[in-house]
Amino acid sequence: MADILQKIATKLYEGEDEEVAELVQKALDSGLTPKEILQDGLIAGMDQVGKDFKAGDLFVPEVLIAARAMHAGMNVLRPLLSASDSPTVGKYVIGTVKGDLHDIGKNLVKMMLEGAGFETVDLGTDVAPEAFVQAVREHKPRIVGMSALLTTTMVNMKSTIDALNEAGLRESVKIMVGGAPVTAAFAQQIGADAYAPDAATAVDVARKLA
């Protein structure tokens, strides 16, 4: 039994999306519960991806491929996971701030968060402060994550926090920021709750905040 879960984790790590989907189905047929498969197969594999990415053994393209495999497995499991099975740690609204079209880093964080059991709402790129406010209003997330890849758009992270403050919603969410030029000092200056230097750390930080 444990073999097949180990195999799912390994194939996920290798980015074999079709094989992962097949293995998940097989595991279900063999009587394993969706929760077991998610926790000890898919998430276990994604955790290893995160660790090796952090250590520099994996690079962005490999992580993206692994995440695609994760999705393939989730597509099989999702209809079977009841609300109580789903290990949702919390809702997470994520987006790249206004004026910034970079999305690779943001997507990576999103996939890693999903791998860790977060339910994510992706607002995409070039997201205006007011759009973040509306998303918080609509989805009532635990955490809002903002990405910026340009020093010229970093200031829009502050504008977004300003907009959440003005709307009276700042205290209802935790705010995380990240992106290549962003620093912990910057996060503190603009009044964010946390900063993460990379996608794997982002998951650790989000778990602490949730």
């Binding site: 504008s159 403050n165 700042r170 209802s172 290549a180 620093t183």
Partner: protein, 671 residues
Amino acid sequence: MTIALGIDTGGTYTDAALVDEGTGQVLHSAKALTTRWDLSVGIGKAIAAVLSQGGVAASRVSLVALSTTLATNAIVEGQGSPVCLILIGYDRDLMREFGFEGALVTPDVVYVRGGHDAIGDEVEPLDEQAVREAVASRIGRVAAFAVSGYFAARNPAHELRARAIIEETTARHSDDGRPLPVTCGHELSVRLNAVRRATTAALNARLIPLLQDLISTVQRTLAEQGISAPLMVVKGDGSLVRADWAMLRPVETILSGPAASAVGAWHLAGRRDVWVVDVGGTTTDIAALRGGHPRLNPEGARVGQWQTMVEAVDVRTTGLGGDSLVRLDGERRLLIGPGRVVPLCLLASDHPDVVAELERQAAQGGDEPWVGQFALLQRRPVNALADEERSLLRSLADGPRPVTALLREGGYPLVALRRLERLEALGLVARAGFTPTDALHVLGRFRRWDARASGLGAGLLAARLGCAAEAFCERVVAAVSEKVARELVTKVLADEGVAADWTMPALDALFARSVGNGNGSSLNCRLGLREPIVAIGAPAAAYMPAVADMLHTDLIIPDHADVANAVGAVAGGVVQTWRVMVQPLPGGEAFRVHLPGEVRDFPTVEDAVAYAERMVPAELAAAVRRAGAADVDVHIAREDRVAMAQAGWGHEVYLCTELTFTAAGRPSPAR
């Protein structure tokens, strides 16, 4: 020699103090009981007493300053006039979904289109027609208007335009051509949070008529006493404003009492960094004084259920004072406060009959919680009451009566008790009972009123515990001191960002051991404060030496500690602060300065800052003179908020520049 008259209306007493403006010396002081239903009655008595006591001619008083609990009490008790709140550019659905509509103070709220964004650009033009219609339909129905615009802290244009429309419309419809008062959110705070600015603006509007009444009756009282000096009011940060200015910004006078007491402590003790503990009749207030100024609450003062954006003294208030009700609960544990009652000794000195009743109760014995308590009439009702409530009031017409008797006559005792409590909440009836003040009378440490009544009251409670009256009174006094010590430690921790949870057994045990209640524990704990304690308030000397011992901390009880609030009222300066922000516009090609009345763009940060530094000081100095200052100094503090980007990404990121303009002067003797 010019003389300043300071007045403080506290929960129990109204104090008056005459201070020599040249030397700062307290010349005379007096107290009168606070008359909650009309504060000017107690104020008049206190002023008359202090003038006659000192033999000071009224004409020599050159300044009068008042610190008052009126605004705080009115907010807590939900009093005030009907007001209409106009919200510009607010998202009504969001307000509803997040329960923010409950923070709007008034049920009469109008949403109109308009508002700005984070950089102060207009999102939508102001719907002037909607404002006009809203105002027209409320003529004769509201006493004041409040206006709050979305991001008005970054661009007040819509609030200012709405105000102009309201003033024009209401002036046209009024008999004397004068407009109704209008409060704009951006005048009270330029910090972000549209909900809290709306709360603050609405509270302010609702208080305006109340404060106008108080100030005009106080001015009449002053005139009757022959005082023609200008009247100033203490704000919640301890500074002063002229009465006519305070009438427009009444919400800024919340917590003026605790602020005045902190300033008074500094004035009397001559120490700039201390913990100020003000032990009053009703409450004990603790505040930090740093560099001679009360430390303010950056989050804004919370009063009753409302989180305001008023920067007032960060005070910790506990319902514990000389007149707190002392009682035993079902398990015969000693409880003190938070309710305030008339001490038995005071009651008996006005109504000697109660001594006989207490003797009767002592002879009879009894285990009911309200043994030894009385109810007495305070004032006539102004509103309609239920029949049972009226008959209860009638039964008190000839003087105070024991609570046990009232409950026996009122049908079911618990129903009768609720009825009594409702009349107390309305201020129609007061409860009398055993208090720490009575304990001091029994122990002979305080002698002003009838100690026999105190002794009998102590005997009733002590009998239930099976101890002697004196031993019981020692326990009460020690319990008050320990509670104050605990509150002081809680306050210090809170200021350091730690919430003290005394329900944690280990924390509670450590505290008990450190204040000497360790019952032979092997742990040797000591708590101490780095800064000395300055204790003020009438009963400070009775409780605070023990507090200082428990906390191994220096204690200063200055002369005139009993009227420190009134002294503090005249010791403050006139101060106004304006905050101006410069921020980059998208693209980083231009920089916008947000001034109190306008926004303007410049090619560089320095150009924007230079413009603010050129324009603001003169305007602010004029404003602070209108608020009653002379010899005005303007001070500018600049903070550039810049953060470094990650190494390899080159430059630093410029976020904004915050300019804080502070104008301060001494109170002007000119009217």
